[in-house]
């Protein structure tokens, strides 16, 4: 029996996978070639989409960037039982250089099978983590997560086990597990890819969290831009429920956990945890002041775990393989693996799950293959719209939380957006302010007003009006936003702005430059003193 895998992942579909799947099925029928078509998730080698895989006997081979013109030759090759002569043939995708250099823990199952097939999930190691957790005490589960060194993959990198401990230790009639799936950072798509390729892993991770802290209800706060993930999660939740992996008395353990997907409504700020909680409660997504921490007073003022998709997914590996196994990946205080996402002007864009520690240059040049345009890389923005733009001198920074913090940058959610030498960095700085103005919740003044003023000041710099004075004003404004804002939105918008100004000063006007820089430095010094 021949199985043909064509991903239903959003990127594959954006590259024509639906039309391709229909053509493959139709031509196979017409030629009397018997195939079973499986709509799997993506393997993460996104520039190769639609990536078709063909399984015959114990062999599974792949073909990349398959289009309508390839269908008849593909069907012939399937009938002959030999795909190796097909012009799009890539061989076993797991032997591909892009795949082989990765350490896939969270994404080990991505793209293997129909994402909502619970039997496939279990056959490939799924629910081993929860099964083990159900035999442990809550404190033992929390200890295991602590020991693994896992830190929040959403961006803030807070130790997951410590957060869970707080929720476990806080008394409350009803506790909640909430998953932040409001993946709004440009250049990031790992949450989406996971939910579209392996949704049970997230469900399992949330169930483990529920058992660990004593929460019986969970919500996945999903951005509305991800309709496929929504559909797949709903199906997966229903099936897990039917098979006794969710709901009452999970697998006879006495533990209850019910789960529901809630849709966001197109507000970037709702990726901030307290804003997300407000939104879940049915309110405007206004950021809350902390304390109280959500772990103590979160959803409906109850003790609440708020974790990112990738964090909750990683927990399944920690429990299934043990804390030590997970700990063994990574460097320094950044343990385990980080799913990096190569995006923007990049030849080989996709998902690259790596143990912490590789340099940014290696990731972009060796794995990513440089720019798509073929021009030299000029700037790399890591960590989404609130992350710094890094110039070449910083590309040898190892990918770990502390190394990035040391250069006033952040790893964030692992998005890497590459720009070639045609980029105008003053426009990028302007966009950072513009985006903040557009998406600010409006609660605190530095963010709400500062971002609007930021756009105006950058416009004056760009037009050459009192450049030096306006550069100095821009830095003052950045200080105000950084130190005066309530959350990371206003507090970190200065990161891309400052990095653009200090690393790419030539884009902010050559004349008066020295004077401008002088003032920039002195204003920075004032703050540190």
């Amino acid at each position: 029996m021949t199985k043909v895998f064509i991903p239903q992942d959003m990127v594959a579909v954006a590259c024509g996978a639906d039309e391709l799947a229909a053509q493959v099925q139709q031509q196979a029928n017409e030629s009397g070639v018997e195939i079973t078509l499986v709509r799997n998730g993506s393997r993460g080698l996104l520039w190769l989409e639609p990536l078709v895989e063909v399984e015959q006997g114990d062999q599974r081979v792949s073909l990349g960037q398959v289009d309508a013109d390839d269908v008849s030759s593909l069907i012939r090759a399937i009938a002959d039982g030999d795909l190796s002569q097909h012009p799009k043939f890539l061989g076993d995708i797991e032997q591909h250089d892009y795949f082989k250099c990765q350490q896939r823990l969270t994404f080990k199952r991505a793209g293997l099978a129909d994402p909502v097939c619970l039997e496939s999930y279990r056959a490939n190691g799924g629910y081993a983590g929860l099964t083990r957790a159900l035999a442990m005490s809550p404190q033992e589960i929390v200890d295991e997560v602590k020991e693994s060194g896992l830190r929040g993959r959403g961006g803030a990198a807070f130790p997951t086990g410590i957060k869970w401990q707080t929720v476990l230790d806080t008394a409350g009639e009803q506790k909640y597990i909430t998953c932040n799936a409001d993946e709004g950072d440009s250049g990031t798509f790992a949450d989406r890819l996971l939910m579209e390729a392996d949704p049970y892993q997230l469900i399992e991770g949330m169930t483990i969290a529920g058992v660990a802290v004593g929460a019986t209800e969970g919500f996945i706060y999903l951005r509305s831009e991800y309709p496929l993930a929504h559909r797949l999660l709903d199906i997966a939740i229903e099936r897990a429920q039917n098979q006794g992996w969710l709901g009452k008395d999970i697998q006879g353990s006495g533990h209850d956990f019910q789960l529901e997907v809630r849709l966001g409504a197109g507000a970037y700020i709702c990726g901030e945890e307290t804003s997300m909680l407000e939104s879940l409660e049915g309110k405007r997504g206004m950021v809350r002041s902390k304390p109280p921490l959500p772990a103590i007073e979160g959803f409906l003022a109850s003790p609440t775990v708020v974790n990112n998709v990738l964090t909750l997914a990683a927990v399944t590996t920690v429990l299934a393989e043990g804390a030590e196994h997970y700990q063994n990946f990574g460097m320094g205080r950044s343990r385990g693996t980080m799913p990096m996402q190569l995006a923007g002007n990049i030849k080989h864009g996709g998902l690259v799950e790596l143990a912490f520690g590789m340099s940014l240059r290696e990731l972009v040049d060796n794995i990513g293959g440089g720019t798509a345009s073929g021009r030299p890389v000029r700037a790399i923005q890591v960590g989404g719209p609130l992350g710094a733009y890094l110039p070449e001198s910083q590309w040898d920074t190892p990918l770990d939380y502390e190394s990035f913090a040391a250069i006033q940058a952040m790893l964030g959610h692992g998005g890497v957006v590459v720009f070639d030498d045609s980029v105008d960095m003053s426009l990028q700085a302007r966009f950072a302010m513009e985006f903040c103005a557009e998406e600010s919740c409006g609660k605190c003044t530095p963010c709400r007003i500062g971002s609007v003023r930021g756009v105006e000041v950058i416009d004056r710099i760009r037009s050459g009006t009192e450049r030096a004075n306006n550069l100095s004003l821009l830095h003052d404004l950045c200080d105000t936003m950084e130190y005066g804002s309530l959350c990371a939105m206003g507090g970190m918008t200065p990161f891309p702005v400052r990095s653009a100004v200090s690393h790419f000063p030539e884009d902010f006007g050559a004349e008066n430059l020295a004077a401008g820089e002088q003032q920039v430095k002195s204003s920075a010094e004032e703050v540190t003193h």
């Binding site: 990127v11 996104l46 950072d185 990031t188 980029v423 966009f431």
Partner: protein, 159 residues
């Protein structure tokens, strides 16, 4: 029965069915949007009553989120991604082309009511930028020529 009355009955039914859920307002607004294409102002008092909120509170939530519109948009929704990964692949140039080829700016609807053009900040297709979504379906690596092709297909599908 007038169209408006029918719509309000739908709103009533949705509120009735969903008001008991925790944090029910967003799911209710989504359900109304899915059924009616927008959240009409006349729905506000019904929702407010059903959830024991003030009309101002309901209005405040509707106006906070980009997804909730108070009037129906054009027949087709075209969303252009304006975020960084797409910028790195020419989204700004694409935006200029789109505006001139459709003859409208971002946030506007064509005079014949066929197309509404909206910005979006990331569709999650950042490895194959620039991205455009037409009626929720995402298209990858869209340049000016591809965009015109997609719009032409839309016209053919309608006729």
């Amino acid at each position: 029965m007038s169209e408006d009355t029918k719509q309000l009955q739908q709103v009533e039914a949705i509120v009735q069915q969903m008001h008991g859920r925790k944090g029910a307002l967003l799911p209710i607004l989504h359900a109304i949007k899915d059924a009616l294409g927008c959240v009409p102002p006349a729905a506000v008092p019904i929702i407010a009553k059903g959830l024991n909120l003030s009309r101002a509170e309901v209005h405040g939530v509707i106006s906070f989120y980009h997804d909730f519109k108070t009037e129906p948009g054009g027949e087709n929704l075209v969303q252009l991604c304006r975020a960084e990964a797409c910028q790195a692949m020419g989204a700004r140039e694409l935006e200029t082309h789109v505006e001139s080829s459709l003859g409208i700016g971002i946030g506007e609807t064509t005079a014949d009511g066929k197309i509404s053009l909206e910005p979006v900040y990331c569709l999650g297709n950042c490895a194959c930028s620039p991205s455009v979504a037409i009626n929720q379906k995402v298209y990858a690596r869209v340049d000016a020529a591809r965009f015109d092709e997609l719009i032409a297909e839309l016209g053919r599908a309608a006729s």
